[in-house]
Each structure stands twice: as C-alpha cells, then as structure tokens.
Point group: none
Chain length 417, copies 2
C-alpha cells in the first residue's frame, strides 16, 4: 500500500512506461445455463493472447529480442466478500488504502459531474422533492422531473448566500443535484435530511459531533433558504440533502511513485478520481476508440497512464449478460490497438467485478494481468476469472498492483539494504 | 506475524524439531531462450522428491509408518512488487514485520562483519576517500585501496576519542569501514556526509530532527578528528559516512515461539541477523558441506535451526544463469543429506528471488516448501516457481512461514477457546 514507509525512497523515475487499463466491473460469474462467465463467453483473442505465454506487444528498444510475458492473478479490492463502489475500487488500484481514503457519496457525486473539489470542501448529494402544505413529503424525487426542468431550479438555489462559506449548487440529472461548501474547518459528521419515506417532514440536519456544529448550521441555513426559494411551486418545492462528505487529504500519486501520470477516461467520475490524486487529466471523447486516440496522441508526455473502460460495468449493472459479453469484445478490439503501442508494462485490471447475473458490483476476485519483459509467463491460455485465479500472482490485494507495475517497469529500488 | 496478540500463549515447547533452510535468492525467472527458470533448468532430484507426494525423510519415531508429505506455495517477503533487501527478506521469514523492523545500511554493514550491536547502538557505513588541498573530493573510494592498506588507517581512526560516547571503527573491505557509536539516547536521523559526487567537499552531518542533534554533533566531531588523523596522506585522506541507523528493539525469537533456536550460516550478515533476534549462532565453515556438518554435530542441542545457503543469490546477482543453476544443483546435493536427518519439519524457503536475467533482487514470489507428516501433499511434481505457485499453500506473506512451521511441528495450541 502507498502507506509503506520509505516508499518514496525506493521509487525512481526511468523512461519506461506503464499503462494501467482499468476495465470497470471486469470480473463476472457463470451464466446459469452455459456455466460460462462473460469473459469465458466473449471472443477476446487479444486478451487471451496477452494472457498466454506468447503474448506479443511491448516494442521499446529495451525489449528487443525478449518476448514479453505476463503474470496473472486475481485482485481483492477491499477485502474478501466486500462489493466495492467505484471509489474504493479505483483508489485501491492506485495504491491507496480504500478504507483509509474512503470518499463519501457527496464527494463522489461531485467528482461524477466534473466538479473540482479541494481538500476540506464539504459535498452533499441533493434531491429536489415535493412536499404538501404541511411540509410532509409527497414525492421524494419530485416526480423524477427532467433535467430541463430541474436545471433552472438548481440555478435559483445557486443564488443562496451564506455568510462564512462559499456555497455552490450543481445540477446532476433529473431531480438530483450536488451541494458544495467551501470554507474553513467544515466537518462532515452531519445527519441526513432525507427521511427515506413519504408522509413525514424532511429531517433537520444535525451535528453528529461538536466539530460539525458550524457546518450543520450552514446546512440548515441552506435548507431554509432553499425552501423559501422553491415554496411557490406545486412540485419540486423542497430540497433534501444526504451523503455529507469531505474530500480526504490525499498523497500525490506522482510524487509518491516518482511518476508523471496522465489519465484518459471518458466518464467524469473517473476523471475526478484521477484528478484528486494529482494525475494530469487529458480531455478525451466518449468512446474507447476516442480514449485510445487520446492515449496515442499524448503517449510521449507521460510515463504512466490510467486508461478507463466503462461499458463492461454498465452492462453488468443492467443485468444484461449479452451486453456485457459485447462490451468485453469491444474492449478486446481496443486492446489489440493498445498492444501495438510502446508501453513497457501493460496492466489489465478491474476496479471490482460486476456479474450480469447479479446486476450489481460484487465481491468476486477480479482478473489481473501484468505484461512486461520480466514476468515469468505461467502459460495460462485465456483471460478469464478461472485462468487468472491460478496465475503466478495468486490472489493479491488490489492495493499492491501499482507496486507490481512499478517493479516490472524497473522503477523500484531494493527495499532495505 | 509475530505481532499476533497472545502468540506466546499458544506456542508450546515440544521435542519436535524444525529446520528452516533459507536459500538466498531462491526464486528466478525463465531464460529468454529456453523459457525455463534456473530451478526449472537445474537437476535437483532431492528437492523435486521433497516437492512430490512420495517424499522420503523425517524419521523420528512419531513419524513411523507415515510418509511425510509437503505443502508448497509462494511467499511474498514485503509486498507484491517490492524487491526486498536481505534484511527485510530474512526478518519476514523469522516472522517479524519487515517494515516495522526495517534495519538501515549502517546496521546491516555492521552485522555483515560480525560486529555485535546492541539496541540503541548507532551504526554508519564509512568510505575512505581522497580529497585535494581545497578539501574537494577527488576519489570517493580512495582508488579502492586494498584492505591491507586501509586496515591500518581504520586502526588509526579507532584511536579517536569522543567524550560522551564509545566510538569503534571496523574495517570492512578495501575502502569501506563501519562506525559504531555506543551511548545514551543516540538518534539516527542524521544527514549523510557523502555527496555522491566528486569535485565538491564532503557534506556536514546534520541533525534531521531535534532528537538527533547530540548524535550529529558526535558524528561531526568524529569526521573532524578523522580528517586530522589522515591529513598527511596523499590518498585515503578523508572519511565519509552514510546510512546512519540504529538497531531496532527486537522481540526475542526463542521467547516468542517458545523455541531454543540455533543458527548455522557461513556468511556473517546472516549470523548477525540471527544473533540480533536472539538465536544461538553456531560457528561453522564457509561451504554448505561445512554447514551441514555443523548442523549434524549440534542437531540435539536445539529444536529449531535456521540454516542459510548463499551461493544461489550470489550467482543471480552476477547475472550468471549457468552459475545459479550450478548453485541450485550443489544445494540439492546438500538437501539429500538434510533429508537423512531427523527433523520433523523441513521448510525450504527463500528470502527473496534473484533472477539471473535481472541480475538483482526481485519482487517475484518465492517458492516455498513445508515438509512434515501433517501436510496434505498436493502432488506437485517438482520444486519450481510454477509448480509452487499452484501448491496447496497458495501465495502467502513470508511473515506467516514460521507459523506454518510451528503448526506442522505440533507446537501451536488453538488460538482462542
């Protein structure tokens, strides 16, 4: 983990290059009929080739005459049995203890819409809701009003001024918004105002600790002002807040590893996660092809790239087995392009598993592949959950993947004399 | 790990016997041409036999009629990806957290020449160097003067007297020496005096913390006195110091495990590591045959032996694949003798991997073999990285190897009621 003492002493900059491809929701589980998982069903010749002994790729001069090999394994993002969110899943792959640096819902929602957060900023997830004349909640989601209707309301909330803090409100989608407070000494131990049921009044935001009394008072001020702003409306006439959270103080990724990291991610939350650990986020388009174009264009500018692939997770979350298989096949086509690039170390990892049969993030160990000229090549024949689980790396915490990548890139000195 | 609470409560002395054979730099990686690692290339019938189900050996009465079996796996000394030094590699196998008990270069150098260190002793690695009339460094290694020439100079430095501390200087080899200060409250947070370049003056030793001001002052006094002692000389007329470090407070190995441990190691650093954790170091010769003679002679005196084999690492560090293969074959011959002895548990482990293709310590998981009458025998057919990685023990932290050895020796009670 990144908390290893003296880590900075053993990391050294070199001109070798690492690409960490994070396939969101990579791992799956067997279909009840075919008994084959999504990876086992998909036609993924490039990933299989990467996983096999004869993997091609890696064409830097340093590799001349040496066939790159690979090491496979299965990662555990947080702990056996724990289904991780995207936040912990990525933080672990970046080498950060996902428990110590856990981010709350408010922070993740803010990162998910490209809001820039600084350390100490207090973020919360907001809902526009509908209350009756007695202030009792009638609809927690204000009839799921469309963004076109909610955005002007959020704009109105943005006019709210609270002395002592800067308040900003951002529309998300439909009835959802994000509240960010910027100020001194804000604490996030504040109770939620959403009672999670109808027929009752929204709850009052309360300080759950002495340290959060000032922040809770600011939240109450905001809620009162919001009710005032919206009160003439029939629906969407009240705002509720939950998931109060602070961006944790995060060690800088590049500094800790002596890397100059670049991030290529189509989806904002992953750009946000990369940004808060200090990676240089490179603008890109919405498809994997766009991402690969971006990577290619900026290939010389960084010695480390975080490359994110989203569609596998989206299909898994939808519970759509066939769509996840397709997403993996589309991934594989891109991997073929990736294999033609000149990285010295290619890591294919997942932030967590998302089996389509579950329709949700799961606790299943996630296949991992490390390719460099130094790996032993254990001869697994395909890139699947089963094959990787008997790979030479065995099962390992996701937090150690970065160390493996660094080692394979020749960027680590001996630990201890 | 040894930090397991109540560990001492569950360890019980028995008359069963454990031999922990540490093969320095055991693990390797495939040769680019043959695709076979050093272990896969070497003819090692005894180790293969040990690794196979039908392994012979272990002839104490308790074993009568039961064929000893084995369990294989792959150990991670510090963390995936981290190439460990010899210090952390051995401390982990002894069951000590290699991060918590990390030793600095000065301490390791001292242990490497059989200098006895106590807790709180401050050690540093020294270089004799050559400076010009302006005190600028001309040669950081004083022309690599031979030990025959440097030893008398080190003797002169030994005459330096500093009030408040005992100072001892020991020759190592050529231009290298070790400085040890014995006194109260010495702190090792001191900056190095070796600028690691020529054409500039040696640096002044500075306290990097308030707590180290006194120790840093002693170091400056020593350096000034050393310059005075050497100043008439043309070369080797100055001394530089680095790697200031204290021996950490180490729990006693024998006490923690309820063992009476003996150590047989040809090379001084490994004797030193054994000594500082409280093992009884038995004098021995320079070859593995000598070590095995020593083990045999003293077999009845201890219930635990740490036995060290060095040549595999030396060959690996030299990048000499063929020499490493030979070193493993020589090891195997000795293992044949070892198998005739009466230990109840034989562990074959490595402190780290040293693949010849890398010419350095590496991060690769290290093959592990535990043989006792209690192991399940997973039927791996040979003692290689690949075979061990699919052994019944899977991959495990090296710090847990001692627990496995204790368990297999019947020396562990139930943990918790």
């Amino acid at each position: 983990m990144i908390d290893l003492p003296f880590l900075a002493d053993i990391c050294r900059p070199t001109d070798s290059k690492i690409v960490l491809l994070v396939v969101d929701g990579l791992g799956g589980a067997p279909h009840p009929e075919t008994k084959r998982s999504e990876l086992e069903t998909a036609r993924i010749p490039n990933l299989d080739r990467l996983a096999s002994r004869s993997a091609a790729g890696g064409k830097t001069p340093a590799l001349a005459g040496k066939k790159p090999r690979n090491a496979a394994g299965a990662t555990t993002p947080v702990m056996h049995g724990i289904p991780p969110g995207s936040g912990p899943g990525h933080m672990a792959l970046f080498g950060y203890d996902p428990v110590k640096y856990l981010m709350g819902r408010g922070v993740l929602e803010a990162l998910g819409i490209d809001v820039e957060l600084g350390p100490g900023d207090l973020a919360a997830r907001g809902n526009l809701c509908t209350v009756d004349n007695d202030n009792n909640i009638v609809d927690r989601r204000a009839g799921r009003i469309p963004t076109s209707e909610s955005a002007p309301l959020v704009d109105m909330l943005n006019g709210i001024d609270i002395s002592g803090v800067d308040v900003k409100v951002y529309p998300v989608q439909d009835y959802r918004f994000v509240l960010v407070m910027h100020g001194e000494g804000l604490d996030d131990r504040i109770s939620e105002t959403d009672p999670q049921m109808v027929g009752v009044m929204p709850l009052e935001a309360k300080a759950l600790d002495e340290a959060s009394e000032e922040a809770a008072a600011h939240v109450r001020t905001f809620v009162t002002a919001a009710a005032e702003v919206l009160r003439e409306r029939e629906n969407a006439n009240m705002a509720m807040l939950r998931g109060f959270s602070l961006l944790p103080e995060l060690p800088d990724f590049g500094e800790r590893y002596s890397l100059n990291p670049g991030a290529v991610a189509a989806y904002p939350m992953y750009r946000g996660l990369a940004k808060v650990v200090g990676m240089n986020v490179i603008p890109t388009g919405m498809t994997f092809e766009d991402e690969l174009d971006t990577l290619e264009e900026h290939f010389d500018e960084h010695d480390f790239f975080f490359l994110h692939y989203k569609p596998a997770d989206a299909a898994g979350e939808d519970g759509d087995f066939a769509a996840k298989v397709q997403a993996l096949e589309a991934l594989d086509a891109g991997v073929g392009r990736l294999m033609e690039m000149d990285q010295d170390v290619l890591v294919v990892a997942g932030d967590h598993s998302t089996p389509a049969i579950l329709g949700a993030h799961s606790w299943h160990p996630v296949p991992l592949l490390v390719q460099s000229k130094w790996t032993a090549g254990e001869g697994i024949e395909e890139f699947t959950e089963r094959a990787c689980s008997v790979g030479s790396l065995g099962s390992l915490p996701a937090t150690e993947v970065m160390m493996l990548a660094m080692a394979h890139a020749g960027k680590l000195l001996k630990y201890g004399p």
